[in-house]
Structures are given as structure tokens and as C-alpha cells.
């Protein structure tokens, strides 16, 4: 009896029956969906920061303190963007597809128990409802692919649906394993039955569920959908603006839902020593989500046929075997004593070893005979990178001092020393220096000097050719302008410019230049 139902019964006494049921339900739905959207925003932010840390870079930190408002900034950007509707496709279905794609992800949360009594509706076919609703997403993908009216999104929609369907079956079978142990479909009773978390009792079931769920979410290593190197953006190529953001939200809400299901089914939901139940569930959900994008930042992508082969020849038979074994255990040891734990781990290991030896991923050449050790080592490496200092340089605030010999733009011209010999003009490969001189009393006086930095190669040959050391490369590098004409620098500008010469071609100047900031400064100083 969830808290909501008690409130509804209590309210029955005061309001007409239909109002007593409807109004609290709507209010609870609004509260729940706003909470979910908030958590999804947090997920988007955590994923972008997390993947950044896996790749030794910072991740977004510009919008708001530590980049917290980055998802909000994305949302605003997407809202403002123009919403293109393809002319050839079917307008109404094109408009409807994102909603159908988003709706199941949100509907799953109606049965996720955040606490012993904090559940939206504790219907006793909880997990069956989840599977039924999650198989609805397929229709949304079809509509998007068909209504976009372009060849690539249709092909990609077909591929994605084939992937979703072939990974749905192992998903259901692994859940069946859990149901045998918990004995009931309702989510609350599943969690209560988990005195020992089912991840230990059902290791193989957990593995299959997790892999199939990653494929269901279209995430690496199964992210056929937005495979940049192939059909560029999959079935949501034609979507932009608000509709695209709905797809994006649907993906992350579905990821949140799957993590919640994994937490509830395998990691004993809200159970935990002293923290409040809802907090325990959120911790477990975040852990599962971190593993999801940890895989995303390590593993490359499988090809279409390998992906299908893996589903039908790899996961499906394993799931069936797991189901038989669990059923056999249910008959032999009905109480599921904890010793089963070791037995199950052994069986799982045996099956994986047996199956990976047998199963050829790419036809006779490659097999998982290393039992996925390669993938595990890769994941371990990316995990170790979490603890390394990110090497991102915040450019405008942090400035790197270039090397003493740095060949920056805008030459530095010394008017007194220059004797107008035009050696530099002759040495320049793209001949952009033109000097006019006139007879002065003690030698030539430079009348006009024009250097067109729009075409300059910054090769430094002119500086090397200057016999009287009147020309230097400069050390700054931020010279940009909107008009090509302003790139042509005249004599007066050279004289007026603030002189920051670099030590290129003048080794003696190097001593008093600031030292270069190195990414890996030499260990022993000196």
C-alpha cells in the first residue's frame, strides 16, 4: 500500500470519488516527472564531466560554477534553434515520433520503488509492465525513420529496430531468472526477496541483462544509431530544435530508467544499512550509470552483423541456459540458500569460458577466447586515468608562455638599425614585404614599409636574412581581424607597436626570455 494510495483513500472521505483518485495521481505524476527530468539533467552533466575525466580533460566548466548549468545552456540553445520539418516526409508523424519515443522512458518510473512504500503504483505485474512499455520505444523509432523522408534515416531506423528487437529477448529471459527466485512480478516484492542481492545469486543473469540493456539504450559498444563513421546521425538526422532535444532527453531518461531497473532487480533497490531508502536507490542508480558511460569511453563499436550475431548466437543461448539452471536450482533448493552463490558464480564462469571459446565474433578469425580479458584490461586502464590530473588549459584565463624562439605573428621592426637593403624582401618566399627607400644623408631612409600578414607563412626566413638585425619575430599569437586590409601593417604601425621580440635567429636573446611552459617539465630541475 503505497503512500499515494493511503492518501487517496484518506481523501475519499472529503472529495467525490473520481477527484480523490485523479487529482493526487496527477500531482504525484508532475512531482515524479519533474524529479526525473532534474535527475536526467544531472545525468547529462555527470556523463559529460565523467567522460572528460576518463579522457584526462576537464569537461564542460564554463556555464555556471563547475559547469553545472551546462545542461540548462544546452536546453536553451536547443529551444532557440529553428525547428526544421522535412518537406518530403510525413509531417504529423514526424511531429509525433519524439513524443512516442520519450513516453515509454517516462512511463517506466510508475513502478520503480524509491522506498518500501514510496512507489507511484504498486501493481502486481510490475516488471511485465516495464518490459511491455519499453518495447513501445520501437514504434517511435519507426515513425522517426519513416517520417523523415530521407533514405539514410529509413535504413538506420530499420537497423536500430532490428537491434532493439534482437536484444529484447535476452533482456526478458534474464529477468525471468530473477522472477523465479523472487516468485512475484511486483517490484516491491522483488526488492523484499533480495536478502542476498540478486547480482550475486544471478551473476550470469546480471551480465546478460546489463549487456542487453546497453544495446537497448544504443550506447557503445552497440551505438549503431549515431555511428559518425557510418550513416551519420541515424534516424534523427532530420530532427532539430525542440524535437531533437526530446530524443536526446528520451535517451538519457531511458538510461536512468534502465539503471533504476538494474538497481531494483539486481542490487536490492532501496535496501541499505542506515541511509534513507530513496538515497540508497539513487546511489546505486548513479553507480550503474557511471559503469554505462565508463564503457562508452573505452570500447569501440561493433559492426552491424557482428552485433546481431552476438545477440542471437551469444546472449540468447546463454540467457536460455541461465533460465534452465535457475529453474533447476529452484526445484532442488527451493529456499535459495547462500551456498548457491558460489555454485552460480562457478556456473557463470564455466558458461562464459565455454561460450566465448565457441563463439566466433568475426567468423573464424577472432573469438573471445580471452573471455573478454582484453575489454577488462581496457576498462581498467581508463579507470586508472580517472586519477590523473586533467591537462586542459583554460586558454583565456591561463596563458602558456611560448618558447623563447617562438615564431609568433606580426614582425618586430627596429627603425634605427634598418638600412633599407631589402634583403628581407628578397628572402621572403611569398614576397609580401615591399619597401620604398629614398636617398638620405648617411644612407637610405625607409619611406614606406608594408607587410601583408594575410599571406605571411611565419617561416622566419626574412628575419634570418636581415644583415643588420633590424627584424625580429614577435612572441604573441593573437592577431585576428575581420577585414583582410587591416592585416596589411604599415610603417607607422610597426613603430607604434609594443615591441615583444622573440629570440628566433638571435640565440643571445634567449637567456632573458621567460621559460616555456612544458606539458611534462623535466624531472630533475637544471
Amino acid at each position: 500500500m503505497g503512500v499515494l494510495e493511503q492518501f487517496q483513500h484518506w481523501l475519499l472521505g472529503y472529495w467525490p470519488s473520481w477527484a480523490a483518485y485523479l487529482v493526487p495521481a496527477i500531482v504525484a505524476f508532475l512531482v515524479l516527472s519533474s524529479f526525473i527530468l532534474l535527475v536526467v539533467m544531472a545525468f547529462i552533466y555527470i556523463e559529460r564531466r565523467g567522460v572528460g575525466r576518463f579522457q584526462v580533460r576537464l569537461g564542460p566548466n564554463r556555464a555556471g560554477p563547475l559547469g553545472i548549468l551546462q545542461p540548462v545552456a544546452d536546453a536553451i540553445k536547443v529551444l532557440v534553434k529553428e525547428d526544421i520539418i522535412p518537406s518530403r516526409g510525413d509531417r504529423r508523424i514526424h511531429w509525433l515520433a519524439p513524443i512516442i519515443a520519450f513516453m515509454p522512458a517516462l512511463a517506466i518510473f510508475a513502478v520503480i520503488p524509491f522506498g518500501p512504500r514510496a512507489i507511484f503504483t504498486d501493481i502486481n505485474i510490475g516488471i511485465l509492465y516495464i518490459i511491455a512499455i519499453s518495447s513501445l520505444g520501437v514504434i517511435g523509432v519507426f515513425m522517426a525513420g519513416w517520417a523523415s523522408g530521407n533514405k539514410y534515416s529509413l535504413v538506420s531506423a530499420l537497423r536500430t529496430v532490428a537491434q532493439l528487437i534482437s536484444y529484447e529477448i535476452p533482456l526478458m529471459l534474464s529477468i525471468a531468472g530473477v522472477l523465479i527466485i523472487s516468485g512475484s512480478l511486483s517490484m516491491v516484492s522483488i526488492v523484499e526477496a533480495q536478502s542476498i542481492p540478486f547480482i550475486l545469486l544471478q551473476p550470469l543473469g546480471f551480465l546478460i541483462f546489463f549487456v542487453a540493456a546497453t544495446a537497448e539504450l544504443n550506447r557503445t559498444p552497440f551505438d549503431l544509431l549515431e555511428a559518425e563513421s557510418e550513416i551519420v546521425a541515424g534516424y534523427h538526422t532530420e530532427y532539430s530544435g525542440m524535437k531533437f532535444s526530446l530524443f536526446y532527453l528520451a535517451e538519457y531518461t531511458h538510461a536512468f530508467a534502465i539503471s533504476a531497473i538494474v538497481a531494483t532487480l539486481f542490487l536490492s533497490g532501496w535496501k541499505g544499512p542506515f541511509l534513507p531508502p530513496a538515497l540508497w536507490l539513487m546511489i546505486k542508480v548513479f553507480l550503474v550509470f557511471i559503469v554505462l558511460f565508463w564503457a562508452r569511453s573505452t570500447l569501440p563499436r561493433l559492426r552491424v552483423d557482428q552485433l546481431m550475431g552476438f545477440a542471437w548466437k551469444g546472449l540468447f543461448p546463454l540467457a536460455l541456459l541461465n533460465l534452465f539452471i535457475t529453474a533447476a536450482e529452484a526445484i532442488i533448493w527451493p529456499g535459495f540458500p547462500w551456498q548457491l552463490l558460489i555454485l552460480n558464480l562457478l556456473i557463470a564462469a564455466l558458461l562464459i569460458v565455454l561460450w566465448s571459446g565457441l563463439f566466433r565474433v568475426a567468423g573464424e578469425r577472432v573469438s573471445f577466447h580471452r573471455y573478454g580479458r582484453g575489454i577488462a584490461k581496457g576498462m581498467a586502464l581508463t579507470f586508472r586515468h580517472l586519477f590523473r590530473r586533467p591537462i586542459t588549459v583554460q586558454y583565456p584565463e591561463q596563458r602558456l608562455t611560448p618558447a623563447p624562439r617562438f615564431r609568433g605573428n606580426l614582425l618586430v621592426w627596429d627603425e634605427e638599425r634598418c638600412n633599407g637593403c631589402r634583403a628581407c624582401a628578397r628572402a621572403c618566399p611569398v614576397s609580401i614585404i615591399d619597401i620604398e627607400t629614398k636617398k638620405g644623408d648617411k644612407g637610405l631612409i625607409v619611406e614606406t614599409l608594408e607587410i601583408d600578414f594575410g599571406r605571411c607563412l611565419f617561416c622566419g626566413l626574412c628575419v634570418e636574412a636581415c644583415p643588420v638585425a633590424a627584424l625580429f619575430m614577435s612572441r604573441d599569437y593573437e592577431q585576428a581581424s575581420y577585414f583582410r586590409e587591416s592585416l596589411v601593417v604599415k610603417k607607422e604601425q610597426f613603430i607604434a607597436a609594443e615591441k615583444r621580440p622573440s629570440a628566433y635567429a638571435y640565440p643571445d636573446l634567449e637567456a632573458e626570455m621567460p621559460p616555456q611552459t612544458l606539458l611534462a617539465p623535466p624531472k630533475e630541475k637544471g
Binding site: V361, R365, K377, E510, Q516, L519
Partner: protein, 366 residues
């Protein structure tokens, strides 16, 4: 039976995974590639015609822009050709500096090649970011030596433009000590990764005799099991003084080309270590007349650039400008077999194969 008409897709010239402005007209029957025609010319700047009106020293910045991922090797090859033509001897220290810088450039170029290849396989930028971290360290070293990070213009006819600053050797020592550890990390991340194996083992197999017949060179040739490296077969400059192995693949598939590049990085570190130890003191640049006028005659000098045999063919005619300036571009010639390698495979494999051949469009189109 179900008649499927072949679909023709234009792949490129703007596409996230063609390395530059490269276009392939690919014809599919369902998922399988039936025909593939590479189309070049989007980056053709006519460098060979341009350099016929430049003096020999002014050409050096143009060679930087030929294969912008390995401009040190381009300088090296061009400058060696001119010295051979003009018969100029260069000091010992300059030889060693050139070898150190060329090998560092090979590591930097292989880092991008392998990072790009893994990015095409779908590893979401992670290996790319790790390899770019190492490449940054090499670019810091180059910036220390010649002042620029991409188009170095470091070598001159008769030696190198600058001697190395005092803080160069300690930084190089740290890099050389740490690099093998990082290469082991790349191996641990990806060499045995089942998905990388599944996507690259046995994909786009190039048999050895076909590779030789199609004058492939560099990691593409060595990946097919042909032990041919110009640094060993026709040692130029002082490469005969260093001992290093030539890694050679077995099957000639995409995985072997990836593996060969990783091993070559280890060998380059060995060479740099030996060169650093024997670095003599002395001049870095021989006396060369300002406007060099090489004698009548022709020369063909070739080196082992990261992409293969990079050759410069010069015809001198006693004038400060070369009469004919020709570049033998390894990337262009390695693409001769792209069609044969990709037929029968799927689009995702074609991208992996293109990534493993590792082309740079500036060198292909010149």
C-alpha cells in the same frame, strides 16, 4: 529473387572520418561494397609548379605544407636532395639533430594515425585524447627547437637552422624515458580488445606481392610482411650507425598495419635514445652561399617518412630556381589499392581500412 538495385553514395569530401577533403564514390549492394572510386584534387595547390619559381631556400617552408603531420621528414628529404645535388657536406652534429627530430616526428605522426584509426572504429575519442597528450609533449620539444608547432621550417641546406637550447636535452630525456610506458598503456587499452580485434582482424587483407606490385610503402607495405624500410635497405644520412628492428606484420590486414605503427614508435624511441647518447658537439650548419646555384643535373633522394617512401626529384640548371621539383607522395600511391581492399566489405570496414592506410590529403593532392 529480390532484385536490389545498387545504391551509390558520395562519401566525403566533408565527412567526419575521411582524413581531410577526400571523397569516395561508393556503390553498395545492400550493405556490401560493390565498387569504390576515390576522387582527389580538392586540396591541389600546384606546389610543384609554384616551387619552380622559388629559390632553393624559399622552397623549404613549402615542403612543410606537403605532409603537414610530418613536416620534419619533408624538410629532411628535400634538404638532403639539394645537398646531394649541390654536393654539400653537413656537420656531424646537424646529422644527429636531424635524425632525432625526424624520429620524434615519426612518433608524433603515428600517434595521430593510430588515434584517428581507433576513432574511426568508434572508440569515442579516448585513445585519441591519450595519444594527443603524448603528441603535445613532442610539439613542446619542437617549439623549443624551431619556434613553431606544426610547420617547422627547421632544416636548412647544409644543416639545421638552430642549435638546440640547453633545456632541450633534459625535456627530451624525460620524454624518451616515459614514452615506452605510454605505448604499453595503448597496447593494454586496445591491442587485445576483442571488439578492436573483431573490427580489424582479417579486414582489408593486402597480400605481399600485390603490395609490392602496387608500390605501396611504409606501414602499409610492412603490414603485409614485406621487410622493406629505406632506413635499413638504403640507409641515408647516419641511419647505418643505429641498430633498430623493422616491425613486420603477418597477415597484411588492418590490425597488422595498426600493430606495425605501434611497434615502430618503440623503435623510434630506441633510435632517439641512441642518437641522444652519441650527440657530438660542433657546428650545426655548413657554409653555403646565400643564393645557391646547384650544377646542371638531376637527383632523386628518398627517405622513410611515417607514411612510406617520400622522394624528392630535382633537376638543377645552374640557376637559383630548380628546373623541375617533383614529390613522390607515399599517401597517394598507397591509395592505389583502396578499391581492391574495400570491395566485398561493408561501409564500416571501408572506413577502418582507410584509417589504417593513414593518408594525409595535403601530400596526396600537393
Amino acid at each position: 529473387m529480390l532484385k536490389t538495385e545498387p545504391i551509390m553514395i558520395n562519401f566525403g569530401p566533408q565527412h567526419p572520418s575521411t582524413h581531410g577533403v577526400f571523397r569516395m564514390r561508393v556503390t553498395f549492394d545492400g550493405e556490401v561494397i560493390v565498387d569504390l572510386e576515390p576522387i582527389f584534387g580538392y586540396l591541389h595547390r600546384g606546389i610543384e609548379k609554384l616551387c619552380e619559381s622559388k629559390t632553393y631556400t624559399q622552397i623549404i617552408p613549402y615542403t612543410d605544407r606537403l605532409d603537414y603531420l610530418a613536416s620534419m621528414s619533408n624538410n629532411f628529404a628535400y634538404v638532403m636532395a639539394v645537398e646531394k645535388l649541390a654536393g654539400i657536406e653537413i656537420p656531424e652534429r646537424a646529422q644527429y639533430l636531424r635524425v632525432i627530430v625526424a624520429e620524434l616526428q615519426r612518433i608524433a605522426s603515428h600517434l595521430i594515425a593510430v588515434g584517428g584509426f581507433l576513432n574511426d572504429l568508434g572508440a569515442f575519442f579516448t585513445p585519441f585524447m591519450y595519444m594527443f597528450r603524448e603528441r603535445e609533449k613532442i610539439l613542446d620539444l619542437f617549439e623549443m627547437v624551431c619556434g613553431q608547432r606544426l610547420t617547422y621550417n627547421y632544416m636548412r641546406i647544409g644543416g639545421v637552422s638552430h642549435d638546440i637550447p640547453p633545456e632541450f636535452l633534459p625535456a627530451l630525456k624525460r620524454f624518451v624515458d616515459e614514452m615506452p610506458g605510454y605505448i604499453d598503456e595503448y597496447d593494454q587499452l586496445l591491442a587485445e580488445n576483442e571488439i578492436v580485434l573483431a573490427r580489424s582482424k582479417g579486414v582489408g587483407v593486402l597480400p605481399a606481392d600485390l603490395a609490392i606490385n602496387a608500390s605501396a610503402s611504409g606501414p602499409v607495405l610492412r603490414g603485409s610482411g614485406v621487410r622493406w624500410d629505406i632506413r635499413r635497405a638504403d640507409p641515408y644520412s647516419i641511419y647505418d650507425r643505429f641498430e633498430f628492428e623493422i616491425p613486420v606484420g603477418k597477415m597484411g590486414d588492418t590490425y597488422d598495419r595498426y600493430w606495425v605503427r605501434i611497434q615502430e614508435m618503440r623503435q623510434s624511441v630506441r633510435i632517439v635514445r641512441q642518437a641522444m647518447a652519441e650527440l657530438p658537439q660542433g657546428e650545426v650548419r655548413a657554409k653555403v652561399p646565400a643564393t645557391l646555384r646547384p650544377p646542371q643535373g638531376e637527383v632523386y633522394a628518398r627517405i622513410e617518412s611515417p607514411r612510406g617512401e617520400l622522394g624528392f626529384y630535382l633537376v638543377g640548371d645552374d640557376s637559383p630556381h630548380p628546373y623541375r621539383f617533383k614529390v613522390r607522395a607515399p599517401s597517394l600511391i598507397n591509395l592505389t589499392l583502396l578499391r581492391d581492399l574495400c570491395i566485398g566489405w561493408k561501409l564500416a570496414d571501408a572506413i577502418a581500412i582507410l584509417g589504417s592506410i593513414d593518408i594525409v590529403l595535403a601530400e596526396v593532392d600537393r
